[in-house]
């Protein structure tokens, strides 16, 4: 043993005698993670969150979240002498007078946009591969919670600089709060400290934005990652991969090096974007006053679909007992997202109720092998995209010389027609892909080589695929639909007959698929 090793050993021993975690660390460092690009989307979320924390901390050093009036005397000429809030003035100072301030602001905002985009991408990966199934339902719900927190945190961050766009967003926020029946106006008064825009809202959301919500984020992210750690990562099917093992690289050294390097790559991409592309140029928007608004006012993209739903809502209102119920805001901004997010959170339980599958799953599904779920996912994406298109209707209208009214009617009709259409098309596509897989297993790869037989006949040579590939294409299980009869064995009508009928229908739809290739099929084809 060299002196250096001896010294290191002594130091390690000193720490271990006081902490006693050596055994746990040793076990943990041998933990294995499977390798797939889509498994790194969650890492993008985590790394951009770290970047948000760092850049956000930098911004708090100069930001003044106060709504008190000041006269701007900074370096930006077109706003000199204009009355504005201290929040807006300090954001201008960060942008123009703090060294590296504008870059930090842009890093913070681009990181936020990428954070939310990565969450959505990560969520889609988990959904389409069925990674949310037992035992990971709770972690799925935590993920939905993180997404929801992200909406709120993003909205608050967008509102804090108190520029014209921020204020417009807050105006809509206050309108949505006021649309809650009975208590809405009271809640709005309490939050804003009076009638809109009030004097207290910015300092309040500042505390939430920099303290409470990041704290909640940290807590939920920790549980989220700990659960992945404890329950182990899922993996795609392949030879040697089972429900009982994990195939991949151990944490040290390969995985750690890759993950650590990937952090710097994510940081690099965000810093690159922030260096070359302007985001939220608040000095152009001007300070917020309730009397002003800009054409083409838009929320950040992750709120854009909600804005689009509000924009397409017909002007329905009910007046009763001295109260106004604004259905035009209540339905698109609260009821529809409420239903969507509740449905999304409970989807793992809904699916297991439909399939009757209560087993643990650690092997992922290939999306085509579960056509119903995949189609449902694409249907949801279509819904959000139609809403998002309508959210940007004014921008689309000016830039593509369209009529804003036509876009609105397209979305009003499209929001009902296109998602079901996407469902049907996706399901057919999945079945076609299954058919292609089946062909590949049975007939092999088309080589493009034509051979002329002695008889004069031309045939194309097909090469059999590798056993590994054949395994991947045939290893999935195909559970049959639930058999739920309306009567029991003695012919007595069961309670909850309608519920069973619905469940059987759903189960049947879920189990649709091409029968996968069996060894009998293969043997038969070998005879030919």
């Amino acid at each position: 043993m060299t002196t250096a090793e001896k010294r290191l050993g002594n130091a390690a021993n000193f720490v271990d005698e006081r902490i006693g975690a050596a055994g746990w660390v040793k076990k943990s460092l041998n933990k294995v993670f499977p390798d797939h690009w889509s498994f790194m989307l969650g890492e993008v979320c985590m790394y951009s969150f770290v970047i948000l924390l760092l850049s956000g901390t930098f911004l708090t050093l100069w930001f003044d979240p106060s709504q008190r009036d000041v006269i701007y005397e900074g370096v930006y000429e077109p706003l000199k002498g204009i009355k504005m809030s201290a929040a807006y003035a300090s954001t201008l100072d960060i942008s123009f007078e703090v060294r590296g301030g504008l870059l930090m602001r842009q890093i913070h905002h681009w990181a936020a946009n990428i954070f939310m985009a990565a969450i959505v991408a990560h969520l889609l990966r988990v959904f389409f591969t069925g990674a949310f199934r037992k035992p990971r339902e709770f972690n799925w719900i935590l993920g939905i919670l993180l997404l929801t927190l992200g909406f709120v945190e993003g909205l608050f961050g967008y509102s804090l600089p108190d520029d014209l766009l921020s204020g417009t967003g807050l105006r809509i926020t206050s309108a949505i709060i006021q649309a809650i029946p009975l208590v809405g106006t009271y809640i709005s008064f309490f939050l804003f400290g009076g009638a809109f825009p009030g004097v207290g809202f910015l300092p309040r959301i500042f505390t939430l934005h920099v303290l409470l919500i990041p704290g909640a984020f940290l807590a939920v992210i920790t549980i989220h990652v700990m659960l992945v750690w404890y329950q182990k990562h899922t993996q795609f099917p392949g030879p040697g991969r089972t429900e009982k093992n994990v195939v991949g690289h151990p944490i040290l050294p390969v995985y750690m090096a890759k993950a650590g390097g990937f952090f710097f790559i994510v940081f690099g991409v965000i810093a690159f974007l922030s260096a070359v592309a302007s985001i939220n140029p608040i000095w152009l928007y001007g300070p917020y006053t309730p009397g002003q608004i800009s054409a083409g006012s838009q929320p950040d993209w992750y709120m854009g679909w909600l804005d689009g739903l509000v924009r397409m809502a017909p002007p329905w209102e009910t007046h009763a007992f001295g109260h106004t119920v604004s259905w035009n805001i209540l339905i698109p901004a609260l009821i529809v997202p409420g239903i969507l997010f509740t449905g999304m959170a409970f989807y793992p339980f809904i699916e297991s109720w439909i399939t009757g599958d209560k087993r643990e799953h650690h092997l992922l599904d290939r999306p085509r092998n579960v056509p119903n779920r995949t189609a449902l996912g694409v249907m949801s994406i279509t819904f959000v995209i139609v809403a998002l298109i309508n959210g940007g209707n004014d921008i689309l209208a000016t830039n593509f010389h369209l009529s804003i009214n036509q876009i609105m009617w397209f979305s009003r009709i499209g929001i009902f027609v296109l998602p079901p259409l996407a469902f049907v098309i996706t399901k057919r596509l999945c079945l076609s892909l299954q058919r292609a897989d089946r062909d590949l297993v049975l007939h092999g790869l088309e080589t493009g080589r034509l051979v002329r037989m002695p008889s004069g006949e031309f045939v194309e040579i097909h090469e059999p695929i590798s056993p590994q590939k054949r395994f991947v294409l045939t290893s999935h299980e195909q559970a049959p639909a639930l058999e739920l009869s309306a009567t029991d064995a003695r012919g007595v009508k069961r309670p909850g007959a309608i519920k069973n009928k619905v469940r059987a229908r759903l189960s049947k739809a879920h189990a649709v698929g091409l029968p996968k290739v069996t060894s009998e099929d293969l043997k038969e084809i070998e005879h030919h």
Partner: protein
Amino acid sequence: MKRLSRYRRHRAAGPFLLVVALLAIGTTFNVASATVAQSPNSFARTSAIEEGRQIFLKGCSSCHGLNAEGGAIAPSLIGVGAASVDFQVGTGRMPMADMSTQAMRKAPVYNAEETAALAAYVASLAPGPAIPTDAVLNYERDGSTAEGGELFRNNCAMCHNFAGQGGALTQGKYAPTLMGVEPKYIYEALITGPQSMPVFSDKTITPAEKLSLIKWIKSAENEPNLGGATMGRIGPVTEGLLAWVLGIGLLIGIAVWLTTKAR
């Protein structure tokens, strides 16, 4: 003399004399009328109005009526003033390329002289806003950028966007971009209210304030892109697009690359 008298009774003498006489009258008229056009003062204005009327009859009257009284598809031009004509014709909006929702800016059909003649003709029909002179338009000296910004956000941004990039109105109509628009035309648009735009009279926005507005618009036009590429200065839509396409796109590409190398 002998030669002349010899041909005096020639067959072609009559027609020849007729041609000479016509040429003489024509030349005299031409010279005479040219002299009239060159002389300044009220006489010139009358002729510009006349010239404008001729252009109007050829190019505009089929829609606006023979006496500019308007018709089923075009408004009356009586009382719209020279500023209105200068704006509409000078920016190429009139004559319209087609009868779609809105006349758009394009290369002008008439040159400066013809436009001035048209303006003079329309202004002669009834009093209306006049074309602002260069002396009036000295926005660099008489305007204030900060005040202009405040006025812009109060009066213009709701249609023309916070940075004057233009925005959508109903039924395919739109507020055009203000980038690259000459100060004269901005001023004329303010006092005449073309198409969907309201009139901002000198009582609503004083001439000095109008110059401030112009100064702010010009400063927005010349403002360097402080934060990097602006992607059209139209707000979060293009930002979100870039975050997905370039940001997530690049990161997924790198993730694919990282995991492929390991195999």
